[in-house]
Amino acid sequence: MFWVEVGKTTRRIRTWVFAAGLAMLAVLPVVVLIRDHNPGGGPPFYQMIRHNGLFAALTAVALLQPFFLPLGAALLSGEAIAGEASLGTLRYLLARPVGRRRLIAVKYGVVMAELATSLVWVMALGLLAGAIAFGLGPLPTLSGTSIGTGAGVLRVLGAALYVEAGIASVAAIGIFFSTLTDSGPGATVGTVALAIASQVLDGLSTFRAIHPYLPTHHWLAWADLFRSPVPWDALARGLVLDVVYAGIFLGAALVMFGRKDVAS
């Protein structure tokens, strides 16, 4: 059923519209940097693109992660079940029969795959643009040292995996909300609200006590992969948060949907 869902996604026009939008976002830092003769500040790793185009992939991810990625995750996961309910196709899928737990699992898997594809798409395009404009080569780290291109690429992949793990919790929240309502947009809005609330609270020192428990707290820890030596602490904590939140919400979705009357 997984490939059926993938097929459905590829046949929607909006998938390609989003892809085009993401492409523009990915190459934007490079395009701006080319024309920027006095670069100061800018998104993470922006400055370093001049030294190695590889960093353009990271800047693209850094632009994506705070808002667009959670928005995309909320959109895709929010309509996963609720979208089918509002179309009326949910009852036909269940009667086919597609088991309820299997449906949740497949839908979640598809959302994660779509998000991973978006990440790869953005990073690849960023990398390409960066490589063309500024070339590749040894990678300077944030600590001042330098690592080989091969090792650099490995760390970039690691960063991608970490970001994907980070968005897993948002996707799980979205799937959970999706089982509660017939409105895809409703579930999406609820999910985005939680993701944004987490980031807002994380930025307010009044709530310092709960910061380590917020799902988005260690979202940017992938930058640590580009220090030498790599401090694994934040990365590890981030992964734990991801697993816990994703596990809780996915579990709740499975339980909720397993007992729900589907009348729509």
Binding site: W3, R11, G88
Partner: protein, 266 residues
């Protein structure tokens, strides 16, 4: 029945197999059931054919899927959608959606068909086609559950009828058993006075008309009178008989009285 709404008490079994208790992978018996649930529903951005394909590929063994996929053309032709199969469902009329819904139910060569208002949205010719199709499938051995509010259609198509009121089965039986044949006849004649004159004198004939007024005459017959005998008597007396119709309670009246009876019991 299809595992969508959980029972508050009791169990559901189709073809002797349970329907609930399979929240992981879905009840296996549902592979043998084809259903139209309330209304057909599709992914509007996909073509009719792709809708059938995708729903097929969402579940089932490799063999089952291959078998269903190979039947798509046949099933589309059966419902008359072979020419519209490549168009997006977004562009379908209600009748086309209905046909596609029926096609989707037929795809797995089901042992049981559960159809909610199967002729909804179809023109009279379409309705007839579906009635004949269902009749043919039933004769070939498929069990078909139809839920319909069109009483004439139910009477024309079904072997057994059940009437639900307030969630309870208040009547069940062959359609004819619900409407007891009465011994009342309606007669249309050209000469009412003359007819009344003839009929009043016959044994076994109860006439409630005195001949004045207009419209059909109503008579109740018991032996030795019969439809044939009164017809012969009238014609021999020079009264032209243009209609002689046995009167039965209409199915609608039966239905309403059953439902209202159930209402009264609450």
């Amino acid at each position: 029945m299809l595992g969508l709404v959980f029972p508050t008490a009791g169990e559901v079994a189709i073809l002797d197999e349970p329907v609930f208790g399979f929240e992981g992978r879905g009840s296996p018996v549902l592979h043998r059931v084809g259903a139209l649930i309330e209304e057909p529903a599709f992914w509007p951005y996909l073509s009719g054919r792709r809708n059938l394909e995708y729903l097929t590929r969402a579940a089932g063994s490799k063999e089952e899927r291959a078998e269903r996929l190979s039947r798509i053309d046949e099933v589309l032709a059966t419902v008359g959608l072979q020419d519209a199969a490549e168009k997006r469902v977004k562009a379908y009329s209600q009748g086309m959606r209905q046909r596609l819904g029926i096609a989707q139910a037929l795809l797995g060569r089901p042992d049981l068909l559960v159809l909610d208002e199967p002729t909804n949205g179809l023109d009279p010719q379409g309705m007839r086609e579906i009635r004949l199709l269902l009749r043919r499938l039933a004769d070939e051995g498929t069990t078909i559950f139809v839920s319909s509010h069109l009483l004439f259609e139910v009477e024309a198509m079904c072997d057994r009828v059940g009437v639900l009121a307030q969630g309870r089965l208040v009547a069940e039986g062959p359609p004819s058993s619900l409407r007891a044949a009465t011994d009342t006849f309606r007669i249309d004649v050209d000469d009412r006075q003359g007819a009344v004159g003839v009929l009043s004198g016959m044994a076994g004939v109860t006439l409630s008309d005195d001949g004045s007024g207009s419209g059909s005459l109503r008579v109740q017959l018991v032996a030795p009178a019969s439809a044939a005998s009164i017809n012969r008597a009238l014609v021999s007396a020079g009264v032209a008989v243009s209609a002689l119709v046995p009167e039965r309670e209409s199915l609608e009246e039966v239905f309403l009285s059953l439902v209202e009876g159930a209402d009264a019991l609450r």
